[in-house]
């Protein structure tokens, strides 16, 4: 194994762990950082060195450039991998790394500015004649300005935070009556989440499919594509199911090469380095419109790794180390699907973090779990409430869906229990929603649009209240025994976990 200089991972959770695994395989020692909320988090345990960077609030820790660079220096790190979210798309961070003599694993600050800022990105793609959704020429400063644009292109329109991502600071507006309060709400949310309330407006495409192209550039003006991903199944404007190949492009096969060509053209124009993603909307007729570029590794990159056999993080690290010669676009095989397991209510999709007492992730052939947790722990309120990503591969989409169904049925995530059998804390997961999704006829058929959840209310309906005979027998035994006393190992014995001890104490003190 070749020895490399250490890489500092400026992130947390599943992505920090995922990057660690590849880094260590390639001989890059791993430096982790952590906040008050993450002292014993799984990603810290995966590192060769780990450094505290600050309080739980992101701006004190995972967004704290000064502290992170200080730690990088102290640890002897030579590379900085930003993961996704946090500092991954901040050009000033790239520059600060360079100034400190560190190699940022990702694009240059300049290409990040050209493509990462949504308004700047539109000018870039316009100059290259890549189609995009009609939108305001720049930031709209008032709701009146937004309303006058909406009148031009027609409702519905979408308000979007210029600095945004992940659905924060975003609102759909169907009529002029709603626009003023939507503008205020989105601005406030954007200020809270990104420290920047700038808004822009665009026309909302109907029957939309979300399709994105993975690219990889060498930073010298050459780039390749690694196929597409369809991420049309979303809740609260956030992806929850991602797959490749895109079912919508199988219906419009002439659209696929045109999208590949557009993405590669833009990536080469900005001399893009590393992994990046071009997000497009494809309408029900197969026309595509550029949405934005993510100048980083995506959450859903495992889907691409399954169909191409490429370890994207390995490519990122080797490119940063000057050891990657960009090959031709890899061949793509079979079908891959990823779902995101979140700590959230499966009916309302409101975040529901809390202590996690048990987690069991699926295993087996062609099943992959990227998890922030290996055992019990806590989904904290401070960060994104994603618990794990579960992905599968199969020769065909139909087989992949069936494999995913089994994987999801195997998955268990449970709250710790109090002595009276009730849950401790407020953790909920979207697992039951995902299990319904994988059984839904529209999903199985592959014709999914971004409004799937709104169109299928049974996906979020309440659970059944008439049990099977076995469920009734089991429940009555469980209840009658619980009323007599605690379950197995609920007593605080030395081998018991912190959570079972905590639940015991809480039960006793109740």
């Amino acid at each position: 194994m070749k020895k490399h200089a250490p890489v500092l991972i400026a992130n947390r959770g599943e992505i920090a762990i995922r990057i660690s695994k590849t880094a260590r395989a390639l001989g890059f020692p791993v430096v982790a950082i952590y906040s008050d909320a993450d002292r014993f988090a799984e990603h810290v345990r995966y590192a060769d060195q780990a450094y505290y960077v600050g309080a739980a609030a992101p701006k004190e820790s995972y967004l704290n450039v000064e502290r992170i660079l200080e730690v990088a220096k102290r640890s002897g790190a030579r590379y900085v991998h930003p993961g996704y979210g946090f500092l991954s798309e901040r050009p000033h961070f790239v520059e600060a790394c360079e100034k400190a003599g560190l190699i940022f694993v990702g694009p240059s600050a300049e290409s990040m500015r050209l493509m990462g800022d949504k308004i700047q990105a539109r000018q870039t793609v316009d100059s290259l004649k890549v189609p995009r959704v009609p939108g305001s020429a720049g930031v709209v400063k008032t709701w009146q300005e937004a309303a006058s644009f909406a009148k031009q292109v027609g409702y519905p329109v979408l308000l979007k935070a210029a600095a945004g991502g992940g659905g924060k600071g975003m609102r759909r507006v169907d009529s002029e009556a709603e626009i003023s309060s939507a503008f205020d709400g989105a601005t406030r949310e954007a200020v809270g989440a990104f420290g920047d309330g700038s808004m822009y407006v665009e026309k909302l495409i109907l029957e939309p499919h979300h399709v994105e192209i993975q690219v990889f550039g060498d930073g010298k003006g050459k780039a390749i594509h690694l196929g597409e991903r369809e991420c049309s199944i979303q809740r609260r404007h956030q992806k929850v199911w991602e797959e490749s190949p895109a079912p919508i492009l199988n219906r419009y096969p002439q659209t696929r090469p045109a999208m590949f060509e557009a993405a590669v053209r833009v990536a080469e124009h900005v001399r893009y380095a590393g992994a990046g993603t071009f997000e497009f909307i494809v309408d029900g007729k197969g026309s595509f419109y550029f949405l934005e570029m993510n100048t980083r590794l995506q959450v859903e990159h495992p889907v691409t790794e399954w169909v191409t056999g490429v370890d994207l993080v390995a490519w990122q690290l080797l490119l940063a180390a000057g050891e990657l010669k960009l090959p031709a676009s890899p061949e793509r095989r079979g079908s891959a699907i990823e779902v995101r397991l979140y700590a959230e209510d499966p009916h309302t999709f409101l975040p529901a973090p809390g202590p996690l007492g048990l987690i069991e992730l699926p295993t087996g052939s062609f099943v992959r779990s990227d998890s922030a947790f290996g055992s019990e722990g806590e989904v904290t309120v401070h960060y994104d409430p994603m618990i794990s990503k579960i992905s599968v591969w199969a020769p065909t989409r139909e087989e992949a869906v069936d494999r995913l169904r089994v994987a999801l049925d195997e998955t268990r995530v449970e709250s710790p229990r109090k002595i009276d059998g009730t849950r401790q804390g407020s953790l909920r997961t979207n697992l039951s929603f995902l299990r319904r999704l994988v059984r839904n006829e529209t999903v199985r058929g592959g014709d999914t649009t971004t409004d799937l959840i709104a169109k299928n209310p049974d996906l979020t309906a309440a659970e059944a209240t008439e049990p099977s005979l076995e469920a009734a027998l089991a429940l009555s035994i469980h209840q009658l025994l619980t009323e007599q006393g605690p379950a197995v190992n609920a007593a605080p014995v030395a081998a018991a976990s912190n959570w079972s001890r905590a639940s015991w104490r809480e039960g006793v003190q109740k």
């Binding site: 409101l350 268990r412 709250s415 229990r417 469920a471 429940l475 009658l480």
Partner: protein, 177 residues
């Protein structure tokens, strides 16, 4: 009393002997007279049972109800299948509660996660419709509208704008009218 008679949903069960221990065996008589032999093995999150039909595992989590009882959420292990709001109600329990004239206290609106109250749109005495917005709360960097789960009259508002709240904190109370 060694026999316990009760219902889970519409399924009537009579346990013929007391249930004891983390693993054991017992017979249950169904409404149609059929007797089922059940073995169980309990763990922290629920239990496995064995009947003539095979082995079944369930994760079972209790949830305190507004009426002071516990309702259980039941999930089948490995195979899928999920139910909510279940409990084993002993025979006579329901009618006794009805006879005692248990009053409905109304709907408590509680915080589902820690956060900050941004706006309170109702005051005591307001009539609200099911689905109407009551408050706006910021949690996990997102603004969430909290809507009325039932129609009724607001009989208490326990928070003010700008206040930070913990999970489970009472926000307001809707009294049926």
């Amino acid at each position: 009393m060694s026999r316990i008679h009760g219902k889970v949903g519409a399924i009537e069960l009579e346990w013929m002997s007391p249930l004891r221990g983390n693993s054991g065996q017992a017979q249950a008589r169904l409404k149609d007279g059929r007797v089922i032999s059940v073995s169980w093995n309990r763990d922290r999150e629920g239990l496995w049972i064995e009947t003539d039909n095979g082995v079944f595992g369930f994760d079972i989590a209790g949830e305190a109800t507004d009426e002071g009882g516990i309702a259980y959420h039941v999930k089948r292990r490995i195979a899928g299948g999920e139910w909510s709001g279940l409990s084993f109600k002993r025979a006579g329990e329901e009618s006794a509660a009805a006879a005692a004239g248990v009053q409905k206290r109304g709907v408590r609106v509680r915080a589902q996660m820690p956060g900050k109250i941004i706006r309170v749109s109702v005051k005591v005495g307001d009539m609200v419709e099911k689905g109407q917005s009551l408050l706006v709360m910021e949690a996990m960097k997102m603004e969430n509208e909290i809507r009325a789960a039932a129609s009724g009259k607001i009989s208490a508002v326990k928070v003010t704008e700008g206040q930070a709240v913990e999970t489970g904190a009472d926000l307001c109370l809707i009294e049926p009218v």
